[in-house]
Symmetry: C2
Subunit: 495 residues, 2 copies
């Protein structure tokens, strides 16, 4: 199913619909957008800009070629020639029913139709649809292009197989579908979110805390844990050696204590609204929504990368998606017709915020990280894949880095690689790091790599196939001019 998705029709391009557009377009899927807001295209353009910025930083795996965006005039038009229609209109039942019915009437029979509703029941939403069997709720979270969760919930007339189809589609986009086991208002996530939000409103209304203090109470403690474990696993740990039953025995009674009783909904009076709005303005400290979005996205990127390193939660979802993407893109491998007479351009990167050190440029170790990634791209190019790595790999034994110019935040970098020499065990390469745009040479790295038997952990010859490719490149590049940085020693020259 996954590979079937080539085009999507979107009904609504606001915060959620625009986020979907970004996820689909940057995932290589074409989008047909219907939105009556005359500003929709401008807003979407800005959101796309933010999404591109975030996604290029998130992952070293290259994004597929962007899908194309077509703005259309009716819901029926959005449903033409697509495999999925995603409705993200405001949370008004009748409006959503009308849009979904129109799209359903116009779409080909095998088109999946989904709603992004935060909490309306699928059975009610599908009331006006001629073919409700293909309808499912697919509820995402803001920003849709970064957060992996999508809740899937079928209605009474949803056909067998529709939820599984949706799961495959959203999974192929790098999302983590969660199938809600019963059709209920608010599904799972929003029930939890609203409970916390309601309590937060009480705290502000009662003057116990400001909105910034409520946010601190979350992000400086439980929010950190919630980014990788939810509430149950966290509490299991809090139960100590005695585990979950002990925790429930110890803290279950507290559920009936006064601090959990304020469960009415606070009246949203003008006074309370004024308080919240004023405190929120103060908290934003003059940052506009685009700046706040970038701040949020930068943090999400860093947290997702941190969790990817731990292979847990959203980090594990990301890691799996990257594997799928690099499998799909099939890392470039040397083939017969390749022109090897020039240095190879196999790797590019971008200077991320956490690369920048107190001197205001990328830390020296980040240059070597990029050169190491370029060596990895070369290894893939000469046929070293996951199977090969089980028994053999090249280890770096020496590196000579020269820094010529500063790599600055957001600089896009490209590496070219020249093979200087090789024998059965050794590989001598010279990388050049260029800044895209002005084409300045920022740094070079001369490296000596040693082929290793990764089981015995000692030097061993490369496989004949790998060696043949290495030799082919070395031979083709033998007559290339060499940088005067090759073969140099370090020192302070004395006149």
């Amino acid at each position: 199913m996954a590979s079937d998705l080539r085009a999507v029709g979107l009904l609504g391009g606001g915060v959620i619909g625009g986020g979907w557009a970004a996820r689909f377009l940057l995932g290589g899927i074409d989008v047909r957008l219907y939105d009556p807001d005359p500003e929709a295209e401008r807003k979407l353009g800005e959101m796309l800009e933010n999404a591109r910025r975030a996604l290029t930083r998130l992952s070293a795996v290259a994004l597929p070629r962007e899908g194309s965006l077509t703005v259309v005039g009716t819901p029926a038009d959005a449903a033409q020639g697509v495999q999925l229609v995603q409705e993200s209109a405001p949370e008004r039942l009748e409006l959503k029913q009308t849009l979904l019915a129109e799209a359903c009437a116009a779409a080909a029979p095998d088109v999946l139709i989904a709603s992004s509703t935060s909490g309306l029941r699928p059975t009610a939403l599908a009331a006006g649809m001629a073919h409700p069997g293909r309808f499912v709720v697919a509820h995402p979270f803001n920003p849709v292009y970064l957060l992996p969760l999508v809740e899937l919930c079928g209605g009474e007339r949803t056909a067998a197989g529709t939820v599984a189809r949706a799961k495959a589609i959203y999974g192929s986009l790098g999302m983590a579908p969660l199938v809600v086991r019963k059709e209920i208002d608010g599904f799972v996530a929003d029930r939890l979110l609203e409970a916390l939000w309601r309590e937060a409103l009480w705290l502000v209304k009662d003057g116990v805390a400001t909105v910034a203090e409520v946010d601190d109470a979350i992000r400086l403690a439980a929010g950190l844990r919630w980014s990788f474990m939810g509430t149950f696993l966290t509490y299991r740990i809090a139960g100590g050696e005695e585990g979950m039953r002990h925790f429930m025995a110890q803290f279950g009674p507290a559920l009936k204590w006064p601090w959990t009783k304020l469960t009415d909904v606070p009246e949203l009076t003008e006074e309370l609204l004024d308080t919240i709005v004023a405190q929120s303005d103060e908290q934003a400290a003059g940052l506009g929504v685009r700046e706040l979005e970038q701040l949020r996205d930068d943090c999400l990127v860093s947290v997702l990368q941190a969790l990817r390193g731990r292979d847990i939660g959203a980090g594990a979802v990301l890691a799996r998606h990257e594997q799928a993407l690099s499998g799909a893109a099939r890392a470039r491998v040397l083939v017969a017709g390749d022109d090897l007479s020039q240095p190879l351009a196999l790797h590019s990167a971008q200077v991320a915020p956490d690369w920048v050190d107190y001197n205001g440029h990328a830390h020296e170790s980040r240059y070597l990280q990029v050169f190491g990634d370029a060596s990895d791209a070369l290894f893939a190019y000469i046929g070293i894949d996951a199977a090969y790595l089980a028994t053999g790999s090249y280890f770096t034994v020496e590196s000579h880095l020269s820094h010529l110019r500063e790599a600055l935040l957001d600089d896009r970098l490209a590496v070219t690689t020249q093979v200087l020499d090789c024998d059965a065990r050794r590989l001598h390469v010279f990388h050049s790091l260029w800044r895209e745009g002005d084409g300045d040479l920022l740094a070079t790295a001369e490296q000596l790599l040693l082929h290793v038997d990764t089981v015995a952990r000692r030097a061993a010859p490369a496989s004949p196939a790998v060696l043949a490719r290495v030799q082919r490149i070395a031979q083709a590049q033998a007559s290339l001019p060499r940088s005067d940085r090759v073969g140099r020693a370090i020192g302070i020259p004395r006149g």
Copy 2:
């Protein structure tokens, strides 16, 4: 106030009290622990082991010398010779009242007395205290040694100044104190936590989701955002260009929809408990509590480090504490009597999980990261501080790394640094990276550094004072033997 804290008396050494013990001891504070549990010392030892592991990975700033732990037999004894008593007994009002009254009666008049209660009111807790003016609730979060939040709440008889004193003390330990503006049950954070937890229990009871699915619904979406922004700032962004009032207008009504109405407390029947315990066991997948704690701590370390890079939320708290610590520890600076005749040992580190690459050892860039940190330590040693960096700094222009042995996960590393040569602008150094324990030499780095005017971004002489120190070291080390790796070029030798 901060520097006054040398010793703390702890009443209770369970999950929370033990976490306090770890934070205090690893922060260099002596601890006197009272806990009637005969297993308390063993449990605390295990928790301390986990805390040491997490904190050494968290920060490159060296931890202070560990405080000493004394186990005592009575609450009164715990209050002797300390500046703070921290009570962390089970959440039973009478028990806490008794412990606090006993400690208060025994403690010197200027000792601050605090309770870790999650939700009992300070006025009630202080009922039996002879001197309630010095009492405050200081409510931390699990794991106490990693999470920065501590809620401070005074009671009716808490003296003016007590909360400010507490704020200074906990702040000096790297925590972020949040002063609760009104005395209420559950303070701020637990009100929010319990609201979400109550809803989570309903979802499991009603069969809408399993405990693992509830956790996924959190950690794959909102939980990621909650680790750096709370609920209000997140929703402000969701309001789009129109901001907070628009968001409230749009989503305020949803608070009254059915999905926020299930606010009764579910009955904790045996059946519900069995369900939760069984699903929790399945979720834990055989991991014991120590392993889960380590998993949690590893993730927290990674998330805190990611957020430190963004200087936001808990990451900003960590960054400020590191600055304070390095200021307090006063990075080692060259003084008259220093022995400079041997390579300088100024930096150590440990191989963290995200340093390890697909070859099962630290990525080559991490070696250069450690060498770069060693150069930074050398800069501090020769008198380059934050003020100096405003106009001058050394930039690396060339590095020659040689890898001799593999640095593996958790290896503790130490760097020694030899100054080979210098002139007014240039500094030629040779770092050696050793594994502590077996003393193996893992790698070397020969580096040429150039002194730069950081405003003009061009080469410029170092200040006379810095230069004098550099020359003193270079002179003292002139006759040291040089590694045969110094001054070498890279290449494949041909016989």
